[in-house]
Subunit: 459 residues, 2 copies
């Protein structure tokens, strides 16, 4: 098998690749802080150099802020072979309180079999498995079994503001069958995961305005609509006492879980005990008829994220507030359309709002849900590669959160994403003492190489 | 008639009494600011001196903070004559932004027939009518037609913290048939008013706690109770779609308006047009079946005064808040019992709260409602005195706000209060450029003297 010789190269040169990862981790590539603009440039150049060293045609593409690295092997020898687009990001989160770090965030340090540094798990360490795999394959002298492209951005931690534009402008150049990324976690320390779904998001701000100024609640109380009471009425009207969202049409497009999906999801999903331990909530709660594992991932939600009205200081003030505001967001699942849900929300709120106040609804953000089939050739190959490299079959998981790049890749490139996550779940992502197990770095690199084999076999 | 000669004394010495008022207004008796403690003492002594000059047995009584002035004429010549307790306060509000004052707040200045100074209307100018009336009567050499007592506090603007204690300790000494005060407004510039009702208050803070920390709404959204949604549900459950409070028993003790009361209230109460002009609200709103005039004064209310939960800054944060808090207050009317309503509120909120969150209810303040009969001998005498002095019959009004001293006087002294307000409604109370019309000062003093006559005739 072709991967085996590349894996042999990696195994002989592990120390060197680990040193390269350390070099990568020393760049202070904090995308949120403009003082690090030069570090961002240097880091992008370094990444591009790694891909060039693997024989890819690599270049650094400027954007309105931080550059993107693009690379391409060119067509594979077999004209019917697939094309994979590897995605990753070289930017990292700010480091926070330096005093909380046991070793400095940009001085990678190996302790107890793990490499500690900002970005070690998110995403440089995981991305390095892709870069190392390419160089190992290249060193075997074999031709590329599939066409391989790379897009590595420097703005993931600030919401990828320029990625949609880059994708659209370079859609032909980036055309692919699958997007491959390693920016998620394993299911647990031992078990790899293949995330196949993320939830969408519609985030609204509802403002109710009544009197032109705060009123004395004695003088006018009872004779004008109180914006805070009206807001509470509207919010309460959006869900029923069985935890279901009452917005007309809200559930129309929700794709129900198949029985095998449901069984699998409940086998690997969060238990009530874990939910209570993680959240500190007194009890599970939610849509009647669903388990916590289903509620967290496979069902849409409506949550108030913030409320503000009137007097919120210490003690009491007897006012009728001029204004009351709620931030309300909905997590969507396949196949809900975020535009349709957005409109239905607005309509429901308008219907629930009396003419005795003024209503304004603002849109903060939105994102489509994402769900990929678990039995595609790419997913089967990924599962086989994870099994081969980590010694255990992966579980298919659904993420409750939102990853805008997945629906973006699907929309612009018409490609599903394969999320090969190698970091452990408690890797201190975005926190001090972020780490990545050296063993996972090694197995991850092997996994990518196995994947190149398996994806060819899957055809 | 006895009052006429006293009024003649006043008319001859108006300029002198106005000068005394100016002296009174020069004391910087700001009760809220400890730097003015000595001013408070000096002002109390001056007030006591005024009453002594009128022949009353006057003294300054220390309290835990600012002193109270007590005074007494001693028994009237006729053993069956009434006893009146005049109430007022010598403390004033802080002055706010000095740049907004056209003349310095503690340098009384007469412009366009009005005296401008902090406290000119609230309450020194109005209280001065009582002091001047006493001195005028005294100068006629007549005996007192009724027994007259005074209690003049220095803590009204900071919530009268020591008044209940003083009243209870000196209840026998302060025993009276009526309390008389001038600390309210006329109905309009021309029409005097006799306020006969104030609303009570029960003020609560409802806190809902769910998860032990803010949660990621993607990760856990849908599987735990959201405290902000629960709070909205609870608030919404407290009123129905006809604007009625749904707390069991809430309306049980509400004394309905008699037909004459309703007619009178709607004749003088706020119109929809005035309500909209004053509040800027898009439309009147409230309990179905009642007018704005009734809703503002004769009906109980439930209003949210403040809401706070989760993320309330700019933009969006996808969190499930750990906590949501509402300040909720109810205005009560006769004969609602604030303790009963307080308990019923707690019970209703507890019933509406699911076991998936933790609930805490705090009490901020409470006060009984107050309603005095408009046909008592005291009210009839007051109406006659106002008509005689202001040339127009007063209207009986109900205040929507809360005045704790009225139910306090009734509870401790078992006496109703007669509120002879002489200031115009827009006298810049608590604001810069507070003023009191000289003409109202004069008519007010005459009114007090007429009242001494009329209250004797009314027996």
């Amino acid at each position: 098998m072709s991967a085996e010789s590349a894996i042999a190269v990696f195994d002989r040169n592990q120390a060197e690749f680990l040193e390269d990862l350390e070099t990568f981790l020393r760049f202070e590539s904090i995308s949120a802080q403009s003082a690090h603009a030069a570090d961002m440039q240097a880091c992008a150049q370094w990444v591009s150099g790694q891909l060039a060293a693997a024989g890819l045609d690599a270049r650094v593409l400027p954007t309105a802020r931080h550059p993107v690295v693009l690379a391409d092997t060119g067509p594979a020898s077999s004209p019917e072979s697939l094309t994979l687009l590897f995605y990753g990001h070289y930017d990292v989160q700010p480091v926070g309180d330096l005093k909380l770090w046991k070793s400095p965030p940009f001085e990678p340090t190996i302790r107890d079999g793990a490499i500690y540094a900002r970005g070690s798990a998110d995403d440089k360490g995981q991305l390095m498995t892709h870069l190392a795999a390419m160089r190992c394959w290249r060193q075997t002298g074999q031709s590329w079994p599939v066409r391989i492209k790379f897009i590595i951005e420097g703005e993931e931690e600030i919401g990828s503001p320029n990625l949609p534009d880059v994708l659209r402008k370079h859609a032909d150049e980036l055309a692919c069958d699958y997007v491959v990324l390693s920016d998620t976690a394993k299911h647990d320390d031992e078990t790899p995961a293949l995330a196949c779904a993320t939830r969408g998001l519609v985030y609204k701000e509802v403002a109710i305005e009544g009197p032109s100024h705060d009123l004395h609640s004695g003088q006018y109380g009872g004779a004008v609509a109180n914006p805070a009471n009206v807001l509470a009425d509207i919010i309460a009207s959006l869900k029923d006492d069985r935890g279901r969202v009452t917005i007309p049409g809200f559930y129309d497009d929700v794709r129900p879980l198949t029985e095998p999906e449901q069984t699998q999801l409940n086998e690997v999903g969060i238990t009530d005990a874990d939910l209570l331990a993680a959240t500190g909530s007194p009890a599970p709660a939610g849509e009647v008829g669903y388990t916590s594992a289903e509620r967290c991932t496979a069902r849409p939600t409506l949550d108030v994220n913030g409320l503000l009205a009137g007097y919120t200081g210490e003690g009491a003030a007897t006012i009728i507030p001029t204004r009351a505001v709620a931030k309300v967001s909905m997590r969507l699942v396949a196949d809900q359309d975020y535009q349709r849900i957005s409109q239905a929300f607005d309509q429901a709120v308008r219907s629930a709002c009396p003419p005795t106040v003024r209503l304004a609804i603002a849109n903060h953000s939105h994102c489509a849900p994402y769900l990929a089939p678990t039995d595609s050739p790419g997913m089967r190959a990924a599962a086989a590669a994870l099994t081969a490299s980590f010694g255990k079959a992966p579980v298919f998981t659904r993420e409750g959160g939102t990853l805008p790049i997945l629906p973006l890749f699907r929309q612009v490139l018409r490609a599903d994403s394969i999320m090969l996550g190698f970091a452990v779940p408690d890797c201190n992502l975005h926190s001090p003492n972020e780490f990545f197990h050296v063993r996972d770095f090694e197995n991850g690199t092997r996994c990518i190489l196995h994947f190149l084999d398996k994806i060819c076999e899957s055809r």
